[in-house]
Amino acid sequence: MFEPGLIHILFISTALFFIGVFGFFTRRNLITILMSVELILNSVNLNFIAFNKYLWPDKLDGLFFTIFIIAIAAAEAAVAIAIIINLYRSHHSIDVSNAEEMKY
């Protein structure tokens, strides 16, 4: 049976990362942008797990970091959604291109 190596997993995580970055820059809907951020974070998580498993299988540092990042991501999602709700209340839209009053 095919046993995936480190390189395959890194490939997936890189792909996930750039999909996230692309979404972050191109999408106008704030919810989608938030989802893109989650993609980026999870690609990093995948990296941690992969390196931990393949290079130092007797240690758990990568796992700890991953759990930590998941917690952070949850908090960040809460804050982001609060911002989104407030933006919706003031602009009746969650399109970032509508909220650009804070400029020169």
Partner: protein, 644 residues
């Protein structure tokens, strides 16, 4: 026997008055502010009398010599070695005499002001300023350290500024107080430099040590100060000349006399205080305090003191003859009398019989305080009655102001030196001291005393005799008990102060000086004074046109004297034309174009750059994210490929 606490209370009581009235006077205790200040000052006066009595009759004299006592000394700032700024009390004969004079005159002024300033809106402010003034002057005379004296010296300048400018809505008063402050401040610069030089060479700021080190022949400090010389004059003499410049500024000596006549803009009782007991005699006091150094180690500086005093005495007397504002006449007579005190110090030597000038100067300071305060308070009564300062509005007032008339006459006789009034004795001593040492100054003094009698009686006849104005009858009365009591007390002082055997108490070296009253010496000054009085009587007793004719016949001199010999114009020329055009204007140009230019250039550059780059801040979040990514990538590239 000697308890420093109550001596310290003498200046602190007026200070307490200043603080209480300054903080609460305007709102809470406005109507009783005068009473509070007067009671505090009365307490200070009693303490001063007690102190002076104790010093002169109980513990001051050791082996027939009055010692300099230091009952209190607190080191405030310690510099290297022996140089320290102390706050202390020094008691010696002139301090005790000054304590008496200042508290007494100030008390008279306080009482007088109760009536004179009645109805004034800012009466609490007035009394608080009076308290500050009295405090600074009292603290000045008890100073044991030359830097302490400088501190209170400046404080006197400040409080006189406040009092002269009391009517701050009058432009002339504002100009006068600024003038007084700037002129005296300018002179104080000389004093400060003098202090620094003295302390540099003697290594101390303490009066006793300073005088001891700089007068004992052969001491290291004295020889070092004498060996250095600048322009052919020793450094010590320069230092003393600089100190004297400070003294001349405060005492309104030639050529720094210009501020004093304008200082008449303040309330009249303030003029009495400034001119009789406080500010203007501070200069004389300073020279007297440092007299041993002047006399023993810097005789050239002392000679300068003598000539400056004599010139001021003569010049001011001539100017006084042509003035028409009665307060200005009195102001110039003050300059003239202070000039007397200065040249009396100038012709004196240290110790023994030849120290007569020193005693005479202090004696004249004492008697002058009495009759000059009386003259000013009398003038205040007249102004209060007439509401004018001009002599032409007065005349025939003897019927309406009987007490003022008699006391004013006493003061005029005293200042003219007619026996047996106070001025006669002190002036006689001054002139005999001058006679022994310097004939030029003696003749100047003699001539000035004739002029003094002339212009004082010109004033007296002009106010109280001459032609009566018909408007007088409708005026109110003389001003009540509070105004008359000081006049009467000062009148007694002006009449009787001359009988004090002053030489027993105050002399240059502390040992008693026998007053050797020489009848021959009195003939000339009394004769000159009588000539002056008779001339004034002939010209001014009744309304006539003789004064105008005489003024017309010497119109050049008269005009020059009327315009105070154009000193103000000269100063204006020097400051406006020379200082402003040659120094201030280029400095202003540099400030505007170079200094401001640099600041403006910085600002303009910032504005220019920010206008160019402000578009970056577009408000689009995702654009910011792109910048962030580009930055992060650039950093990554940098770290990976360059940062080995």
């Amino acid at each position: 026997m000697l308890n420093a606490t109550y001596i310290a209370l003498i200046p602190l009581l007026p200070l307490a008055g200043f603080i209480i009235l300054g903080l609460f006077g305007r709102k809470y205790i406005k109507n009783s502010s005068g009473i509070i200040a007067t009671i505090l000052l009365l307490a200070a006066t009693v303490l001063a009398i007690y102190t002076a009595y104790g010093y002169f009759f109980e513990y001051g004299k050791v082996n027939g010599v009055y010692e300099k006592l230091i009952p209190l000394k607190y080191t405030w700032l310690q510099f290297s070695g022996g140089v320290s700024i102390d706050m202390g009390i020094m008691l010696d004969p002139i301090t005790c005499m000054m304590l008496l004079v200042i508290t007494f005159i100030s008390l008279m002024v306080h009482i007088y002001s109760l009536a004179y300033m009645k109805g004034e809106e800012r009466v609490a402010t007035y009394y608080s300023f009076l308290g500050l003034f009295t405090f600074s002057m009292l603290a000045l005379v008890i100073s044991s350290n030359i830097f302490q004296i400088y501190i209170f010296w400046e404080l006197v300048g400040l409080s006189s500024f406040l009092l002269i400018g009391f009517y701050y809505d009058k432009p002339s008063a504002v100009a006068a107080c600024k003038k007084a402050f700037i002129v005296t401040r300018f002179a104080d610069l000389g004093f400060l430099i003098g202090i620094l030089m003295l302390s540099f060479y003697s290594g101390t700021l303490d009066f006793n040590t300073l005088i001891e080190r700089l007068t004992s022949p052969g001491s290291a400090e004295l020889s070092s100060a004498l060996s250095m010389s600048f322009m052919g004059i020793s450094v010590l003499t320069w230092a003393m000349i600089l100190v004297f410049i400070g003294a001349a500024g405060k005492s309104a000596m030639f050529p720094l006399q210009i501020w004093l006549p304008d200082a008449m803009e303040g309330p009249t009782p303030v003029s009495a205080l400034i001119h009789a007991a406080t500010m203007v005699v501070a200069g004389v006091f300073l020279v007297a305090r440092l007299f041993p150094i002047f006399a023993l180690s810097a005789p050239e500086a002392l000679e300068l003191v003598a000539y400056v005093g004599a010139i001021s005495a003569l010049l001011a007397a001539i100017i006084a003859c042509a003035q028409t504002d009665i307060k200005r006449v009195l102001a110039f007579s003050t300059i003239s009398q202070i000039g007397y005190m200065m040249f009396a110090l100038g012709v004196s030597k240290y110790g023994g019989e030849s120290g007569l000038g020193y005693t005479a100067s202090m004696f004249h300071l004492f008697t002058h305080a009495m009759f000059k305060a009386l003259l000013f308070l009398g003038a205040g009564s007249v102004i209060h009655f007439i509401h004018s300062n001009e002599m032409k509005d007065m005349g025939g007032l003897r019927k309406y102001l009987p007490v003022t008339h008699v006391t004013f006459l006493v003061a005029c006789l005293a200042i003219a030196g007619i026996p047996p009034f106070a001025g006669f004795f002190s002036k006689e001593e001054i002139l005999s001291a001058a006679f022994q040492n310097n004939m030029i100054i003696y003749w100047i003094g003699l001539f000035t005393s004739g002029l003094t009698a002339f212009y004082m009686f010109r004033l007296y006849f002009g106010i109280f005799w001459s032609k009566e104005h018909e408007t007088h009858a409708e005026h109110h009365d003389e001003g009540g008990f509070a105004m008359l009591l000081p006049l009467i007390l000062l009148g007694i002082g002006a009449a009787a102060a001359g009988f004090i055997p002053f030489g027993n108490f105050v002399s240059s070296d502390g040992s008693a000086l026998e007053s050797h009253f020489n009848l021959n010496m009195t003939i000339a000054p009394v004769a000159f004074s009588l000539i002056g009085i008779v001339t004034a009587m002939w010209l001014y007793k009744t309304q006539n046109n003789k004064p105008d004719k005489i003024a017309a016949s010497i119109s050049g001199l008269y005009k020059a004297a009327y315009h105070k010999f154009y000193f103000d114009e000269m100063y204006l020329f020097v400051t406006k034309k020379i200082l402003f055009n040659l120094i201030a204007k280029p400095a202003a140009w540099i400030d505007k174009n170079v200094v401001d230019g640099l600041v403006n250039a910085t600002g303009n550059t910032t504005v220019f750059v920010s206008k160019k780059i402000k578009r970056i801040q577009s408000g689009k979040v995702q654009q910011y994210a792109v910048y962030f990514l580009v930055g992060a990538v650039a950093m990554a590239v940098l770290f990976i490929y360059w940062w080995k």
